[in-house]
């Protein structure tokens, strides 16, 4: 499908400057620190822990991933991109790059939470990783298409969180519920089966719709 | 509130009234826009 040039380009820029990953890691660090300062020594239950984890992830994703299209507009390279690549290639390239960003965000989040919070115990690791992966895929698709939409608008600023967060909320509900259960039991499948199904179908629906609609946003 | 708790039929009445007030309010605003257009 010839998507690699765009992905490779973004990866190369990223490796050179490390802007995306560092912004994301900094955001996480600040968030975790804020939580630690505002609730020092507090016992954090599993549902609160799950909520904090996903709040950090979703807002981190919003800050980190929004740049993918906005930076093209700012650098003036989006016009060239439109000329040289098919919209599908641009979409998959950006989408996969955002996915990799979210994966690095998730890994950093897990590391930081495990290190800083003594109440962060994942009992069912396989299920935890599964719902994390599904949540990441859905978040990446939504933020990719919506940041493309916002980038075409002349004022980008606050529009992305306003558009993306409500649409992401069903994902938030499913993932926080699933994470909470993986914190509580070692055999989480029975409890999170419904959530996994929702995440899976939501991901498929959203990725499909994003892929189909992307060229309508992308063209002039 | 106690009165409403003891007479639930009035609660249903309030709900129906709220619905129709909402719909008529919306139509009233549309009507104002029509009048502004006609001017």
């Amino acid at each position: 499908m010839f998507i690699s040039p765009i992905l490779r380009k973004d990866l190369r820029i990223e490796l050179r400057s490390r802007f995306g990953v560092s912004a994301v890691v900094m955001f996480l660090l600040v968030t975790v620190t804020t939580i630690l300062f505002s609730a020092p020594g507090e016992q954090i239950g599993s549902s609160l822990m799950s909520a904090l984890f996903w709040i950090s992830l979703f807002f981190g994703a919003l800050t980190g991933l929004a740049r993918s299209f906005v930076s093209e507009e700012e650098r003036g390279t989006s016009f060239l991109l439109r000329l040289h690549a098919e919209p599908e290639q641009v979409f998959w390239g950006k989408y996969l790059f955002n996915l990799l960003l979210i994966v690095s965000l998730s890994i950093s989040a897990i590391v930081m939470f495990a290190f800083f919070f003594r109440d962060f115990h994942v009992r069912d690791i396989a299920m935890f990783l599964l719902q994390l992966a599904l949540g990441a895929v859905g978040t990446s698709a939504i933020i990719t298409i919506l940041s493309a939409l916002v980038a075409r608008a002349s004022q980008k600023g606050a529009l992305l969180p306003v558009l993306a967060l409500p649409v992401l909320l069903p994902l938030v509900i499913a993932t926080t519920d699933a994470t909470r259960i993986t914190f509580e039991t070692t055999n989480a499948w029975e409890g999170i089966r419904g959530d996994i199904l929702i995440l899976f179908s939501f991901d498929i629906a959203v990725t499909l719709v994003s892929y189909v609609l992307f060229h309508l946003i992308w063209k002039e | 509130m106690d009165f409403l708790q003891d007479h639930p039929l009035y609660v249903v009445g309030i709900i129906a009234t709220v619905i129709w007030l909402g719909i008529f309010g919306f139509l009233y605003r549309l009507n104002n826009r029509v009048n502004k257009l006609k001017k």
């Binding site: 649409v167 909320l169 929702i198 946003i217 | 249903v12 619905i19 719909i23």
Partner: protein, 317 residues
Amino acid sequence: MSKFFHSNIYHLLLGALFAVSTFVCFATPIGGSFNDVITLKMNNVANVTPVKMKVISLSYDSLTKKFYNVTDLYGTPARVLINSSVSLKLGDNLVAECSYMPTEKIFNVVRIERINPLLTFPLIQGLGELGRNMLFHVPMSFVAFIAFLIATVYSIQFLRTKKVYFDHSAWAASSIGLLFTTLATVTGSIWARFSWGSFWSWDPRETSIFILLLIYLAYFLLRSLLEESHEKKARLAAVYNIIAFVTVPFLMFVLPRITQSLHPGSSGTEAPVINLSGKTHTDPILSYVLWTHVTLFTLLFWWMKDLYTTILRKENE
């Protein structure tokens, strides 16, 4: 044909049907079974419960007291005591509030609601008169869903044909969908106050309807904040509308059914109106009135949408 649907006769007819339907919703008595009387008394919910029954025979007659043999709507036989001068014939249907006298094993009629009613609604334990809300609150959310669905269809049509009419129609339909969603939220909140105790408790069903409000409010925010050409604004708004609608089935039909919630139809309960087993747990009369109401409100929505679309077209010419 189209002429009729824009005529005054149609509007008057719709209004008349609404009046009749609303009257039926309020005037139809609610009658349960004798089992309901006993269960609700045992659970300390209510001492007196309305029962729908049919008179079989007169058991004992004095000037002030009458004992009748009756069967309730499920066919359960019982004896009732009526302390009034009302005389009932064999085969009469009766809806009356009854209390249970365990020592004598008879039911005491406290108040007669209706003799030989045309229609009755079934009693839903724990709801009583509030059950009538189902005929107003549920149609609101149904029509909201239909409105958002129509808006998405129009958005897709706009993206395919670029005709401005479809963009205006999507705008109008989304707006009315937002109206009905707000009404569903407000009526649900009022119902919750008198049924569950508080106006808002972030119950999963309440949360998902709130999220739905946010999503479509964002649609209008997008439309007003964009400073592009009309065509581009419409195109981007149409794309967002489609993305937004992807979440709607999850928010309205999937998520509230698998999480634990007080709302009927959540995990562990059986949804009375739409469920996978095909048959509904609602009494047929209730179903008919409910779906009639849904149809009437949908027709109302369609009229409002057409009106709003014309306004938008004239405003943006």
